[in-house]
């Protein structure tokens, strides 16, 4: 498969209903469909600073106009590979009259930060996008499916709209005791912040159970918030609901203030990102770890004796890797598994491709299907298959479901998508059979 992939043909505007009326006879002709294809002028006339000025006036929107058109961002933009998009292109479109605030382009960015990594002018889409989206959300101009997620998050404290009381339902089948702090508020080392997809999504729940069984074997003292937990909502923030994020933050810190814990450990790189970068801006400073970081610390205490004789590749989550610089912990874990043949994809670590789930993309698959030739997760699955891997290992709760769907839709059902916690558990010796190396 060429890296460039298939590009979508330019969008042709065909009005479903269009007619012209004779000024002489009054007779009207239907010119819908192909007839009006040529009616849109190719000539650009709307050059103005106005659009860029509107963006620059927003806190966080200042840098869009810094673009000097080098185009370094476009080849690394995951969306451009399946569409016509990219920060440079966006800059030019706004400069030539596109209203970003009402454009569909506003929702394509996954805030994966690969553009910012290479941008010589530090045009920061990670700040621009949430700023413009926030204004669009306030103006009511937001894709419906995203709006639904915002409302679910607001009502239920989770993006899936699930019953908050059932947040720790997954623990029943965990096979080990999972302490819930509201029942037993004594001090704890690790506050396991489960987040939405490990709490509610069936595949996420499996990973959560694997994780707690590993913690149990490693002798880690941990507990969860249970029904008191609400999502941290970082992706909602990046999708434009800053107000919702801030309201959630108040709830979260109020809950956290009730308990004594040494550190927060979460499987969700998005929540992790907010706890590390956003919470301290409001004075909420915690020691935070991604679950792979915790497991990498205690790897010697995990009895890994069963071989997994499979070729395994790994997808770096944008918010763990590029956003927060953690590339080694997941690899440490995978390489610790006996028999496992770890292979990298061409794009990995700093330039890893994006699964499409970040920045609200998780909840925009329907909306984006009108604009993308294929999902980002589908492209990524093809890259994984190209390595010869039998297993695609992940460590972000968004990804198991995204990549499993993508494996099916691309006809790669043979590719297993597994959370690193699940792989580790598979490699763990059965209880009572630990062999000290």
């Amino acid at each position: 498969m060429p890296i460039g992939g298939r590009k979508q043909a330019p969008i042709v505007h065909e009005l479903e209903e269009a007619s012209v009326t004779s000024t002489l006879s009054g007779r009207a002709w239907d010119v819908s469909g192909q007839w009006n294809r040529m009616l849109e002028s190719r000539v650009l006339t709307d050059y103005s600073y106005e659009g860029l000025g509107k963006v620059a006036a927003l806190e966080g929107g200042e840098s869009l106009e810094y673009c000097y058109g080098c185009g370094k961002c476009v080849p690394v933009c995951p969306v451009d590979l399946v569409s016509e998009y990219g920060p440079r292109k966006l800059h030019r479109k706004v400069q030539t009259g596109m209203d970003l605030f009402t454009s569909d382009d506003l929702w394509k960015c996954t805030t994966c930060a690969n553009c910012l990594r290479v941008c010589p002018k530090e045009v920061n889409m990670i700040e621009i996008m949430p700023a413009v989206r926030e204004a669009a959300v306030l103006a009511g101009s937001v894709p419906e499916e995203l709006q639904v997620v915002f409302e679910k998050t607001f009502r239920y404290g989770n993006a899936l709209g699930e019953n908050p009381r059932r947040r720790h339902g997954w623990t029943k089948e965990a096979g080990v005791e999972v302490r819930v702090l509201s029942s037993d508020p004594s001090p704890v080392d690790v506050l396991f912040y489960v987040e939405d997809y490990w709490s509610y999504h069936p595949r996420g729940q499996q990973a959560a159970r694997s994780f707690v069984r590993i913690l149990d074997r490693a002798g880690v003292d941990f507990a969860i918030l249970g029904a008191e937990e609400k999502t941290i909502g970082d992706s909602q923030r990046l999708a434009g609901e800053k107000g919702l994020f801030e309201a959630l933050m108040e709830d979260v810190v109020t809950t956290l203030a009730k308990y004594e814990f040494a550190r927060i450990v979460t499987p969700d790189p998005h929540g992790f990102n907010a706890l590390v970068k956003e919470y301290p801006k409001r004075g909420h400073v915690f020691e935070v770890q991604h679950y792979t970081q915790l497991l990498a610390q205690v790897i010697d205490r995990i009895p890994l004796s069963r071989e997994i004789n499979k070729v395994v590749t790994f997808h770096d989550p944008c918010y763990l890797g590029r956003h927060n610089g953690e590339y080694d912990a997941p690899r440490t874990l995978l390489n610790a598994i006996p028999g496992l043949n770890f292979v990298e994809m061409g794009r990995c670590r700093e330039n890893a491709y994006c699964c499409g789930g970040g920045g609200g993309g998780m909840w925009l698959d329907g909306f984006n299907s009108n604009h993308l030739s294929e999902r980002l997760s589908e492209r990524r699955v093809r890259e994984a298959v190209d390595t010869g891997a039998e297993v695609l290992a992940v460590c972000c709760p968004y990804e198991v479901s995204r990549f499993e769907d993508a494996a099916k839709s691309t006809g790669n059902d043979h590719l297993e998508v597994m959370d690193i916690a699940e792989l580790l558990e598979l490699a763990m010796a059965p209880v009572g059979e630990e062999v000290v190396a």
Partner: protein, 351 residues
């Protein structure tokens, strides 16, 4: 024995730097200047400010001129030109003419600092209408406006709402014969764009370019601030024609990164004209018998490591007589040639 005099032809920034340097070695210096004052193009063409620091041209050049004129071993022949030159390194004999009167001067060495002239936009192959439309002007015309403090549309005296610069006018063009990049226009246009933004409230300023050539520090000194702080809109794609429309000017070209034609209304169009050898540079090459390059600039014979020696020993060329040059280039080559010229005088070469 020759008196070891250095004759500097041309009293612009490069000539001043050469004269000053030679004079500081204690050598007698005579500057032969075409005009009635020193300062060269920036003064003659009413530049408002100098690139990249936006200092007043009059003030900054004045600070070069005053100390020079205060030196007892420097004299200036104003409104004069060199009409003949004989002899050789260490022992030249020069005739200059001042309002019909001739004067002979001996010289150990000669520095040619006769500079450039602005490209005449009437020669441009694109249809810019410089002589047709009042509101199409050139960089130096805008400099003069900025200096006067009044940036207006010449057609009606009103403040422009939309101003654009068109880069590479008269440069990088085989048909015109100027294949070279004029080096300073990107920076000067960006500098003027900043000044227009500061001078006219609410004005939108665009720069249409092929490549922005902001070498060295100009990138962050001019280009980035113009874009980031002063909101100048840079558009890659050059204007190929300017048409009158509804009392304004319609600029037409291709927006190359969008791959689409563009037609944009403007109130004032500024042509970023390049550099050509001045009349004086062309004339002096003939009078002094020094080699020119194919564009008419004086050729340095041993570049890149000797930037100022010409084909005739004892004669040096400096600044924009050598080709497109910014002010740093001008004073650097000027000082270099001044030192080389002084060394000839001091060594008594040719005795």
């Amino acid at each position: 024995m020759p008196n070891g005099r250095v004759v500097v032809i041309g009293g612009g920034p490069a000539g001043i730097a050469a004269a000053r340097t030679a004079a500081e070695f204690g050598v007698d210096v005579v500057i032969v200047e075409r005009l009635a004052y020193l300062g060269g193009r920036p003064i003659e063409e009413n530049y408002a400010s100098l690139t990249p620091y936006l200092r007043s041209a009059e003030e900054a050049i004045g600070e070069m001129v005053s100390p020079l004129l205060a030196m007892s071993n420097v004299s200036v022949r104003y409104e004069s030109k060199v009409i003949s030159c004989t002899g050789e390194k260490g022992d030249f004999s020069i005739v200059i003419e001042h309002r019909g009167e001739q004067e002979s001067l001996s010289a150990a060495s000669i520095v040619v600092a006769t500079g450039f002239s602005h490209f005449d936009p009437g020669r441009e192959t694109q249809m810019y209408g410089y002589y047709e439309f009042d509101d199409v002007i050139a960089l130096q015309d805008l400099e003069a406006m900025l200096k006067s403090g009044q940036v207006v549309r010449p057609s009606n005296g009103e403040a422009p709402k939309r101003v654009c610069f068109v880069q590479c006018v008269g440069s990088r063009d085989r048909q015109i014969g100027n294949e070279y990049c004029s080096k300073v226009c990107c920076g000067v246009a960006s500098k003027e764009a900043i000044e227009v933004r500061l001078a006219v409230p609410g004005v939108e300023v665009f720069i249409f370019y092929i490549d922005m050539r902001m070498y060295g520090y100009w990138e962050s000194q001019i280009y980035w601030p113009a874009q980031e702080k002063h909101h100048v809109q840079y558009v890659k794609g050059i204007i190929t024609e300017v048409l009158p429309k509804d009392g304004r000017l319609l600029v037409r070209g291709e927006d190359t990164t969008m791959g689409r034609p563009m037609e944009v209304p403007m109130d004032l169009v500024v042509l970023s004209v390049g550099m050509e050898p001045s009349e004086g540079t062309r004339a002096m090459a003939g009078v002094l018998g020094i080699a020119q390059n194919k564009y008419g600039f004086i050729e340095a014979v041993n570049p890149p490591l000797d930037t100022v020696s010409t084909s005739r020993p004892g004669i040096f060329a400096v600044g924009s007589a050598l080709g497109p040059a910014d002010l740093e280039d001008c004073v650097s080559t000027g000082g270099f040639a001044g030192a080389k010229a002084a060394s000839i005088s001091l060594a008594g070469v040719g005795v």
